[in-house]
């Protein structure tokens, strides 16, 4: 079957549209980061009874009261407690007494009955105009991106990840969807500007530098295993992409906070607003936990496909080897989180090393090292 050029054009148009909409969402996230969060925090503090607030500040302990890093969950200083959690022991349940439904709930009052967790979309609605705009724009952008990817698939009559351009655009689509998921589940508005920024950059580079016209696949790739193996690698790469962005945020924030605490640097209002290290660490861990099994499955599916195509399920082909290296490094990250002395910033270095290995695999090994895997399609 020949390539449907009309649909291919539609795909490219939607891809550019997604890029533009993501850029607008990025602006909205930036607006929230700069203007929306301080307003929310002030409203939160005003709603608490003074006694509760005093109690909270007392138990927050080491966290600097003036520039308390707002939590991922609800931006209020309560997440500062989680940072100094270990010092206080589990007793410091100085959490936001207010439900995510926003200020105005009765808080601090004794003996209220347990209530179910509030819904996510209500939380978005209550979080302010910037967040509402950003969330809506992100959703529309994702829709456009998904349409772009699927129309490309229909244009070429196969799964739309057969060359490097398609792989990158699909990867960023997965990253955007996964980002939206954690945005909503963990109310993580503050990471929006960084993750969406990274997605915009990646997608923009893909469109401008490695765009490949839609074309059929070489016979070696004509197998249903394409749908399975490359899909899994695309999914996990998109998730690891988000984890990497969060890891960079963690490292930047932690180093900044250490320098400020040691008096070596001035507090910077923008950097202060990066979510707390504990929150970022938790989100990164959860992202890797999602991505690692999918990567493992992708490597296995690749091995099954390699056996079908090349006669052996593992031959230390350069791309296979680097997929293995990436797997081992992410495994090291997971082990590091359970090893004394390797938690914290060191584990994030490992995680970023893993993502660097992933990028090396895509951009260096597939293009420059000859092997059975050279299907980049890049001229």
């Amino acid at each position: 079957m020949s390539v449907n050029a009309g649909l291919a054009h539609v795909s490219t148009d939607f891809m550019i549209a997604a890029l533009l909409i993501y850029s607008l969402a990025l602006l909205a996230f930036a607006g929230d980061y700069a203007f929306g969060r301080p307003r929310r925090r002030a409203a939160m503090l005003a709603a608490k009874p003074a006694a509760d607030r005093a109690a909270q500040l007392a138990t927050v302990g080491a966290a600097p009261a003036s520039a308390t890093p707002a939590g991922v969950v609800v931006d209020g200083p309560e997440s500062g407690a989680s940072e100094s959690n270990e010092a206080q022991g589990p007793g410091s349940n100085a959490t936001a007494p207010a439900a995510a439904a926003g200020p105005g709930n009765p808080i601090g009052g004794a003996a209220a009955r347990p209530v179910r967790p509030a819904g996510a979309f209500r939380a978005i609605a209550e979080a302010g105009p910037w967040v509402r705009a950003a969330a809506t724009l992100s959703a529309i952008g994702i829709l456009a991106h998904v349409i772009a990817v699927t129309t490309r698939g229909f244009a070429v009559h196969r799964a739309p990840w057969g060359d490097m351009y398609e792989f990158i655009t699909a990867l960023t689509c997965v990253a955007a969807i996964f980002f939206y998921y954690i945005l909503v589940k963990y109310r993580a508005w503050a990471i929006g500007v960084f993750v969406m920024g990274a997605i915009v950059i990646a997608l923009g580079l893909a469109e401008t530098l490695i765009y490949t016209p839609a074309g059929p696949l070489v016979p070696a790739l004509q197998s249903y295993w394409l749908s399975i193996h490359v899909t899994a690698m695309t999914l996990s790469s998109g998730i690891f992409f988000v984890a990497a962005v969060l890891g960079i945020m963690y490292i930047v924030a932690e180093r900044y906070r250490k320098r400020v605490a040691a008096g070596k640097a001035e507090p910077n209002p923008l950097l202060d607003r990066i979510p707390s290290g504990a929150q970022l660490d938790k989100l990164t861990y959860r992202a890797v936990v999602f991505g690692f099994p999918i990567w493992t499955f992708g490597v296995m599916a690749g091995a099954i496909w390699a056996d079908q195509a090349w006669g052996r399920y593992w031959g230390w082909d350069p791309v296979e080897t680097w997929a293995f290296i990436t797997w081992v490094i992410y495994a090291a990250y997971l082990h590091a989180r359970a090893t004394g002395g390797w938690r914290g910033i060191r584990s994030h270095y490992i995680q970023l090393l893993g993502f660097a290995s992933l990028l090396t695999n895509i951009f260096v090994i597939q293009i420059f090292v000859t092997g059975l895997h050279s299907y980049a399609g890049v001229q």
Partner: protein, 582 residues
């Protein structure tokens, strides 16, 4: 993943309450002795005996930190294996590397960097890693079995010190409230523990999520299974290559196979006894559009027998569609052109064969080859182009990989081909050291033409063009076990990530004025990779509260003792209090 050796229980005041708290919150699945160990290990006991050293060394090996270092080494060690040419997959490139890096290559060779994945130092890394794995996993299996037998710990006295807790009033008396909680938790398949008869308090302990550790162990043991499956294939399996031209047949014997790489315990008589004929090979290329020249389809039609003299079957082998014969698989790996030549010398026909030419460029299929006719003392080096085009009028090039306009250009030699010495020669290379070049070359020929050589040396005719395929024949008994272990590994991974080991405790104290009760529900989870315990706890708390059918929401509660923070510990959204060192 939980670290067996990590410690999270902080120093607590020496009191029974604190003991209970510590018991309830200590790392799941470990006893107090293990909880005191740290990952870095200490001195090997008070004595310097061999057993002491051995134990210390073993503890070092099975520690998390060693595993981490070995993982790094494994990743690092694989890097040269992907960048430098490797003997196992591309020996020609290795030879080329020696010629282009004459000083560096021998040193790299001594370090084993041209065959990294078979090198002893690489084996040492993964053997150590798996030894560490086994040494860690086996004791944990016993601990898991033990912990599955022991009931959950008693409920701590002060549940508000747990990472998640909720307190609310209930109209039911304490024992009924706890019973109601037990019904809810039991319905959610928690393992329950009630106070023994004669125990004064009303409490309930519940635990769930043992599958998490099962998954963890399953994953690690499955990795070991994969390693053993690979070893199985390495011992009993074999790989072979063969090049077959259209019309040719070969049988699966070591003498007839171009290359044969047996496993350690494999001998020639273990080979499957099939024979295979290449009837026809078709290659289709895209002939228009942006992807012109790209291969669209390869199809090798073959006939084969599974036993000598058995019935002949036909099939087609394509890329991604190997032929399965008698537990052996035959794969289509490569293809090329084999122009047919007839060489005539003084004694008559000296050579008549379709000669495989090897592609130098897989995009255009421009190919090199050699014709050896020793009985006429003639040899030819040739370049074959499937679709000929004379670039600049002088250089022969191929502009399309299909045989639309085949031509061959030959340089002839006459003399001694060197075969009589008996030393092995590549059939794709001509040794011209004892030969003289024949005038008139390079001589361009189209199909059907003849080049009559000067000096009555003879003639060579280009009869036509056939195609050849290269096939890979593999037998790997470890393949299916490796697949099964891989699937089990993923199952174990998912279990260990998405099941959380958690404990929920309920305590009911008599309410104010002896009416009703005040119920406190507390919970903690040791590792919560996927998150969500906060939501689960919040929902459980609501279910338990509903089951205890409380009185009006506005009735005051007597706050239980605890820090100054509010008693009203509702957890409407996830809070990372539970990440105590995880």
């Amino acid at each position: 993943m939980t670290d067996v050796h990590s410690t999270t229980s902080k120093a607590a005041p020496a009191s029974e309450a604190a003991d209970l708290d510590r018991e309830a919150t200590r790392p799941f699945g470990t006893g107090p002795a293990e909880a005191a160990e740290s990952g870095s290990g200490g001195a090997p006991g008070g004595s310097a005996t061999g057993a002491g050293w051995g134990r210390w060394a073993w503890r070092q090996l099975t520690s998390m930190r060693t595993a981490l270092i070995l993982l790094f080494l494994l990743a690092l060690g694989s890097v040269p294996g992907s960048i430098l040419p490797q003997q196992g997959s591309d020996p020609a490139s290795v030879t080329q590397y020696f010629t282009s890096h004459p000083a560096l290559a021998p040193w790299l060779n001594r370090l084993g960097l041209f065959n990294v994945f078979a090198a002893p130092w690489f084996a040492a890394i993964y053997i150590l890693l798996f030894a560490s794995l086994v040494g860690c996993v086996v004791p944990r299996t016993f601990k898991l079995v033990g912990s599955a037998r022991t009931p959950p710990p008693r409920a701590p006295r002060n549940l508000t010190r747990l990472p998640q807790s909720v307190t609310y009033p209930s109209a039911l008396p304490p024992d009924a409230a706890v019973d109601a909680a037990a019904t809810v938790l039991g319905g959610q398949r928690f393992r329950l523990r009630r106070p023994a008869a004669g125990d004064a308090g009303h409490w309930l302990a519940a635990e769930k999520g043992y599958l998490r550790e099962v998954g963890n162990l399953l994953f690690h043991l499955s990795l070991l299974g994969v390693l053993l499956s690979i070893a199985l294939g390495g011992l009993f399996g074999y790989k072979a290559d063969e090049l077959v031209t259209e019309g040719q047949t070969f049988s699966d014997t070591t003498a007839q196979l171009a290359e044969f790489h047996p496993g350690r315990l494999v001998s020639g008589s273990d080979l499957a006894q099939f024979s295979l004929t290449l009837d026809k090979f078709t290659a289709n290329y895209i002939n228009s559009g942006a992807s012109i020249g790209q291969p669209a389809e390869f199809n090798a039609n073959v006939s084969y027998t599974t036993t000598p003299g058995g019935a002949t079957k036909t099939d087609s082998i394509q890329v991604n569609h190997p032929l399965s014969v008698d537990s052996v698989k035959v794969y289509l790996i490569g293809h090329g052109y084999a122009p047919e030549f007839t060489v005539r010398g003084r004694g008559g026909v000296a050579y008549q064969e379709a000669t495989p030419f090897i592609p130098a460029n897989t995009n255009t299929m421009l190919s090199d080859g050699v014709v050896k006719a020793p009985s006429a003392s003639l040899g030819f080096e040739g370049v074959f182009v499937p679709t000929a085009y004379m670039a600049g009028g002088t250089t022969l090039e191929s502009i399309f990989p299909a045989a639309n306009n085949p031509e061959v250009s030959l340089i002839g030699y006459s003399g001694n081909l060197g075969l009589n010495s008996g030393a092995p020669q590549s059939i794709y290379q001509l040794d011209t050291s004892q030969m003289t070049e024949i005038a008139g070359g390079p001589h361009l020929m189209t199909p059907g033409s003849t080049w009559t050589l000067p000096g009555k040396l003879g003639s060579i005719t280009y009869d036509g063009t056939k195609q050849w395929v290269s096939l890979a024949i593999t037998y790997d008994p470890g393949q299916i076990p490796a697949l099964v272990c891989g699937i089990l590994a993923i199952a174990g991974l998912l279990l260990s990530f998405f099941v959380r080991r958690r404990r929920v405790f309920v305590r009911a104290l008599p309410g104010p004025d002896g009416v009703g009760s005040v119920v406190t529900v507390g919970g903690l989870t040791r590792t919560d990779a996927s998150g969500g315990f906060e939501d689960e706890f919040a929902n459980l708390a609501v279910d338990i509260a509903d089951a205890s059918s409380p009185s009006s929401p506005s009735s005051p509660s007597s706050p239980t003792a605890g820090p100054a923070a509010s008693d009203d510990h509702q957890k409407p959204e996830p809070n990372n209090q539970s990440e105590t060192g995880a």
